[in-house]
Structures are given as C-alpha cells and as structure tokens.
C-alpha cells in the first residue's frame, strides 16, 4: 500500500466517521456483593441495560449505573451489546417517560461508579479497573 493510498484511506475513514476497533483493557462487569448471580453473558447484560430485566433471580431490584456523556469505555461496552448510544438513550427515555422503569444512574468516573455499586444493594456497572474494593464482585469479563 502506497503512502498516498494509506493517507487517503485514513482521510476517508475519518470523513465518514469509521473507526477501527481499538483493543482496550478488559471490561469487568461488577455488581454489589449481595447479588445472587455469579456470571452473566452479553445477552443478559443487554436485557438489564435496556431495562427489560429489572429484578435479579431472587426478586431484588436491579439498579443500573452508567457513565455520563460519551467515553471510550462506554462506547466499547455498547458495541459489546451491539447497540448505538442514541438507540439506548431513546429506549431509556421511552421507558422513563412512561414510568416503566427508573432510568440508570449516571456517574462521571469509574471511581464514582465503584463507590455506588459498593453502597447500593442490587447495583450493576462496568469498569476497567483491576483493583476493586470489598463489597463488589465481578460477574463477567470482556476483552
């Protein structure tokens, strides 16, 4: 591939908004230690993050946490669920405005998210941090 072809491909990709997936750190899905399940797959996460599953297996309430605005981790997580951020936001709004679900609590940082999951029975979130405090457990890992 000539340099010109390479540059023009890059420019085209930039122009049309394409971006190659960038390998990142492992995404860890964390929950409050009291949550009754120990593992979950991408479909299970999708059901929870689209607010279709609102209770854990033991009947306790699921409290979903997510990040405010846009960040790389959030984008990667949504790609994992094969959803676009705008799609998810629209589904959340629809369920919130019709009273079908409480919208996810949004936080600014991983640190804040971890604090919230530790302190909230039934909470779920996702992080890349490898050092996790007591009070949370990891139920899924995605590379």
């Amino acid at each position: 591939m000539s340099i010109l072809t390479y540059i023009s491909s890059l420019l085209l990709a930039f122009w049309f908004g394409f971006s190659a997936p960038v390998p990142g750190e492992t995404i860890r899905v964390i929950v409050h230690e009291s949550v009754s399940i120990n593992e979950i797959d991408a479909n299970g996460l999708l059901d929870i993050y689209l607010l279709n599953s609102q209770n854990w297996g033991d009947g306790s309430k699921i409290y979903v946490t997510d990040f405010k605005g846009s960040n790389e981790l959030k984008n990667r997580f949504y790609e994992l669920l094969k959803m676009k951020p705008a799609e998810i936001q629209k589904i959340w709004l629809k369920k919130q405005f019709s009273g079908k679900a409480i919208p996810p609590t949004t936080v600014n940082s991983e640190e804040e998210l971890i604090k919230r999951v530790v302190a909230t029975k039934g909470a779920i979130g996702y992080v890349t941090s490898t050092t996790l405090p007591e009070g949370v457990k990891v139920i899924a890992r995605f590379n």
């Binding site: 306790s60 799609e87 919130q96 019709s98 936080v107 804040e112 302190a119």
Partner: protein, 406 residues
C-alpha cells in the same frame, strides 16, 4: 486548605446524592416550544346546508410562538416492588389568568412489580394501546412538532380523542415473557368509559338538561354511569427493540345520550339522534421496525359501533391510519416524512358525501438536529387538507420547534 475542604465537601455531597437515588423522588420533564406559520385556505363552492352555489375564497395567515406542551414527572421507587409515578401536563400556552391551554393530572399511579411476568398498576394512567398511544404526549420521543393528526392536542373542536383512543384507565396488568431473542408483551386494563360521562346527569334525574341539581355537585368530575371500559394489547418485540408489533382492542360505550359536545356537534345546525349508550369497539395495530439508519412506523385504529336498530343504517364508525419513516443521517441529524389520515362516518348525518367522511389527509415532512442529549431542534411542514363537492380546505403549517428534556 480551603480548596481541599470545598472538594471534600462536594465529593461527600455528590456521592451522597448518587447513593440515595434508588429511593429518592425523581423529578424530571420536558417542554416543547415552537414558532409556527399557519395558513387557512378555504374555497366554498356550495353551501353544505342549503345547496346554494357560492364562489368564496379566503386565506388567513398567522404567525406565533407557542409553548406547545410541558410535562412534569414525579417518580419514586418506594422499595423493590412498588413505584409511584405522576405526570402533570400543561398545553397550549397554559394560563389560568388568560383561560388558555389546559392543565391536568394525566397520570398518578402506583405499581406493584411481582416479576417481569406481572406488574399491576392502580390509579389514573394512559392505558397500553397502540405504540404511539402509549407515548402520545412524550414530545421529545418524536422527531416532529405536530403529531399525527389524531394525537395532536393543538387541534381542538374537530374531533374528540375519546372517540378514537382509550384516554384513561385506572387498573392495568402488564407483563413480559421472554423466549430466545423475543419478548412477548401483554396488557389488560380497566377504566371508565369515555370522559363525556363525567358530566352526565345522574340516573333518574329529569330536570333541565345541563343544569344539575344542588346535590349533583357532590359528584362533579366523577363518572356517574355504570358503563366501564376494558382493553387489552398483545405485542412482540425483539431483544434490541428494533422490531415491534402489536394488536390492541377495547370495549366501552360511546355516550350518545347528550350529543352536544365536540366532533360533529361543532356544527350548530346539525341535529344528532340521541342513541343512548352505544357499544363501541376499538381495534388497533402497530408495527415499528428499525433497519440500518431507517426507522419505520405504521399504525391503524378502527372504531366500530353497535348502533341501535332503530337508527340503522346510520354509521358513526371512525378510522385512523399513520405511516412514518425517519432516516438518521448521523447521531445528530435526521430527516423524516409521514402521512396520517382520519375519518368519521358520523359526518354523513350532516350531509351526504361530506368532506369529513372522506377524511382529513395530513402529509408532513421535516428534519431535526440534536444539539445535545437534552435539546433537539425540529423543523416541520404540514399540508393538511379536506376535499368535498362543497368546499376545499387547505391548512399548510410550518413549524420550527425546540424540544428540551430536563
């Protein structure tokens, strides 16, 4: 030192607020404001009532800024099972001082969620019917300013929404059954029949119509009839909610005891037969599909009445159709076009071959731009029209709107 104190204070305050959220009272809402240019073009060929030929044309324009609608929600997850939800709605530049617009408690219910299979709600609510019906007044969810004709609250006097849709329920059970990649939804609801019963004379009252006795004031605002409404919906959607399909139905009675309000009764000269409580069935169907960057929506409502034998073959049946497509150019920008149509056969009581029987045709197109996750700019052109042997009515409207979520 001061900086550290302030940072610690805010960190403590903010984390406290976040942690309390699962049981705190959430307050949120939205507002939609527009600038509109509206034109009314009316050409009269012949008097619908006397048959006298006419050659009249008028064209009236107006431009205005309007707060189309603002809704305020209160929502609280009481515990793992119970949730409270309240929806207050203000429409059309609401002002109690000027007597303009409307304000009402649209919903105020508590729900008990036993599991994904069963949630029971009690209190006034929008019943589950077609897809649009359930979110009919959630403006930020729509790409348009002026909703498909049946749902647009800015239109008053042409028809009564009660005649087409169930407006309110008081008890509803819903649930979802998941099978592989699909969800099967159901809903069953119970409520009063249409709101026209709220002002009805109490049974046995034989006084002057419209002048209630003193003790009737005790019941103002309550449904004094024995007639009640039942309805149900079954639906299917895929896991990512890109495909949705449903069939809905209701049964109640149409209050034709005192046909003096709304719909055809806007014509002072028309004399409507008093048919009593007319059994009514509404059947609706909706289909939504997201394909790539395209969103498609279709919806239909058929309203059928069991008119008493002595009034046959009079028909007061009604219909509504709607089709919509949006193309999402990118995350922020979208263009769309839609078409909605509604008709009311009871206008045959006014004159044979009436325009209203042919229906109100409303093609529309527009585009929008999401400024951020809270605000969306919307542009729309509407070309509503009525056609009849007697007159043509064209209503070209242009809207620039801003929808804000807070």
């Amino acid at each position: 030192m001061i900086k550290r104190f302030i940072a610690t204070f805010f960190a403590f305050f903010l984390s406290g607020a976040a942690l309390a959220q699962e049981n705190e009272l959430l307050i949120y809402g939205y507002a939609q404001t527009y600038f509109a240019q509206r034109t009314t073009e009316y050409t009269l060929y012949q008097s619908p009532l006397t048959g006298i030929p006419f050659d009249q044309y008028f064209n009236v324009k107006n431009r205005n800024f309007t707060l189309q609608q603002a809704n305020l929600f209160f929502q609280k997850q009481m515990n793992d099972k119970f949730m409270f939800f309240m929806n207050l709605e203000f429409t059309a530049n609401y002002s109690s001082r000027l007597g303009s617009g409307t304000f009402g408690v649209q919903e105020a219910w508590i729900s008990y969620r036993q599991s994904d299979l069963l949630t029971v709600k009690f209190g006034p609510m929008l019943p589950v019917f077609n897809n649009l019906s359930e979110i009919r007044n959630r403006n930020p969810l729509f790409p348009y300013v002026f909703r498909p004709v049946m749902y647009e609250t800015m239109i008053t006097g042409l028809f009564e929404l009660d005649d087409y849709l169930p407006e309110q329920a008081f008890l509803q059970a819903t649930g979802t059954l998941q099978r592989g990649e699909y969800y099967f939804d159901y809903a069953v609801h119970l409520g009063n029949s249409e709101r026209r019963y709220l002002d009805r004379r109490p049974p046995g009252y034989e006084g002057e119509e419209g002048v209630p006795p003193q003790n009737y004031n005790l019941y103002l605002g309550e449904d004094m009839s024995l007639s009640k409404a039942v309805g149900a919906r079954i639906g299917l959607r895929d896991r990512r909610e890109r495909l949705k399909f449903g069939i809905s139905a209701t049964y109640d009675t149409d209050n034709k005891q005192t046909p003096t309000v709304g719909s055809i009764a806007r014509f002072e000269t028309v004399v409507l037969p008093e048919m009593g409580d007319v059994p009514r069935y509404r059947i609706g169907s909706d289909f939504s599909y997201k394909y790539g960057d395209f969103d498609f929506e279709f919806e239909g409502v058929m309203v059928r009445h069991k008119v008493p034998a002595q009034f046959a073959p009079i028909s007061i049946d009604k219909n509504f159709l709607y089709g919509h497509v949006t193309y999402n150019i990118d995350f922020r920008t979208f263009v769309w076009a839609n078409y909605s149509w509604m008709n009311d056969n009871s206008f045959e009581l006014l004159l044979p071959g009436s325009a209203d029987k042919n229906g109100l045709h409303v093609p529309s197109l527009g585009f929008g731009y999401r400024l951020n996750e809270f605000a969306t700019l919307k542009f729309q052109h509407v070309q509503a029209r009525l056609r009849s042997p007697y007159f043509d009515l064209d209503l070209p409207f242009t809207f620039f709107g801003l929808s804000v979520i807070f």
